[in-house]
């Protein structure tokens, strides 16, 4: 007979209770071939999933908590924040959720869908907490939260809770299979945009770059040691219209040096569309400045 005052028994019972609370928020998104992804029932009529792993379709079949099936329409997707939003055609509502607090070393409970209406559970620590960051696809994520747990591919997109039961966000895979959290705050900010527009508009220059060292001889006039070399220019895009060419080395965008991208990405936010920016660049060893009018990044 287990001793009820045993701390492990208490911990285990608390975890069981948390899992029972979370189950109502977990849906499976069917992918065909017997595979699935996890969707988190975030609010009434709203299911969020990890954008990077969701096939490009308009309609999905869900398995709701308890095993009932439901059709869902894609409301929108944003690769920048890695959030996709589905709207089930029948009412769904999550259990009440409190906002969580990501503290380094806190317990983290991550849940996934088992594909048949049940849940799978994972436990780990909050391995790393950092400030806001920008994704490769241009989105701003409110906090860097890394978990030290393992996740199966089918569990990606499920909810994560802190030790106190507060909702931290949803899980997603970062580089090398590390498990990241898309924070609740980011999800809350993106949901209205996806409901209204189906996407999150972002400013776009139409350039692909590779990071390079500025050659020693040019550093005095460039005033910086590293910059972005243009490797391709999107045909008909803002930079192409401005006359940017492959091989140009862009030193600054709107006065912000390209040595650090975190100064540049905010200048390409939703409000930037239609505005003109100065591109300071090196071409054939000489400085030049071109003006480009920022356009909305085309849907991928």
């Amino acid at each position: 007979m287990a001793n009820p005052s045993d701390i492990l028994v208490q911990l285990s019972s608390a975890l069981v209770a948390r899992a029972a609370d979370a189950r109502g928020a977990i849906a499976a998104v069917r992918l065909g071939g017997g595979r699935h992804l996890t969707g988190t029932i975030w609010g009434p009529g709203l299911v969020v999933a990890s954008e990077q792993s969701l096939p490009k379709r308009d309609r999905f079949e869900l398995v709701l908590p308890g095993g009932g099936g439901a059709e869902a329409a894609l409301a929108g997707r944003d690769a920048g924040t890695n959030i996709a939003l589905l709207r089930p055609l029948q009412p769904v509502a999550p259990p009440p959720a409190q906002p969580g607090q990501a503290d380094l070393g806190s317990l983290a409970l991550a849940f996934g869908a088992d594909g048949a209406g049940g849940a799978t559970a994972r436990m780990g620590l909050v391995n790393l907490v950092g400030p806001e960051w920008h994704s490769r696809a241009g989105g701003r994520i409110d906090a860097r939260i890394v978990l030290d747990l393992r996740l199966a591919p089918a569990e990606e997109g499920g909810p994560v809770f802190d030790g106190a039961g507060g909702r931290l966000g949803i899980t997603t895979f970062g580089p090398r299979g590390r498990v990241l959290v898309i924070p609740a705050r980011t999800i809350e900010a993106v949901i209205p945009l996806l409901l209204q527009h189906g996407r999150v508009a972002r400013g776009w220059l139409g350039l692909a770059f590779q990071r390079v060292a500025v050659p020693d001889a040019l550093q005095p006039q460039a005033g910086q040691a590293s910059a972005l070399m243009v490797v391709s220019v999107a045909a008909g895009g803002p930079a192409a219209k401005a006359g940017v060419m492959p091989g140009d080395i862009v030193l600054a965008v709107d006065g912000a040096a390209t040595t650090r991208l975190h100064g540049i990405v905010p200048r390409l936010g939703p409000d930037s569309i239609g505005h003109s920016v100065d591109l300071r660049l090196l071409r054939g060893g000489a400085l030049a400045t071109l003006q480009a009018v920022i356009e909305a990044r085309p849907a991928a």
């Binding site: 994704s135 776009w204 692909a208 770059f209 060292a213 080395i249």
Partner: protein
Amino acid sequence: MREAAAVTVPRQRALRVFLSTEDAARCGAWAAIIVAAGHERAASSDDADLVLSDAGPGGEWLRISAHGGEQDPAGLLAADADAQQVEAALRAVAAGLVVRTPRAAEPGFHAIDEGEGRKLLTPRELEVLRAIGEGLTNKAIARRLGISLHTVKFHIESIFRKLGVRTRTGAIAKAPEWRGQTIEL
């Protein structure tokens, strides 16, 4: 001296592979590779040794999963991997190995590349590195770029120093990991 013990490599048995994709053309292509390699197509994932599926929102990745494997996905190839790569990857995963392509791009939600912790190459050094990768000699590189042999050697020394390698092969091997992402703005 004693004779070395005989080594036996088990004869390769046919693998049962389940194909999981909604793309009919891709399914047909995979089926052709599997049959040509002497494997069997399994009717369900339950009685398969391996599952071949596509991954990524646009199906950019070909994923190989092994039943009860520790690491999932055990195999990850570009969706356009050729028949030889797919067959080699299936065999390797069946033998308990983990397979990855050397391509720098990797699935997962990535932060934008701030280039931290890397010594950056200049545009000229990048051109020289690319030429080394194509197997060109110093003389041929000098001719292509219109610079002197001395300058080519100077650039190569600088590349080796920045990449922390001593040979051309070492530089080629390090290049993809070092190069980082293409940044799109």
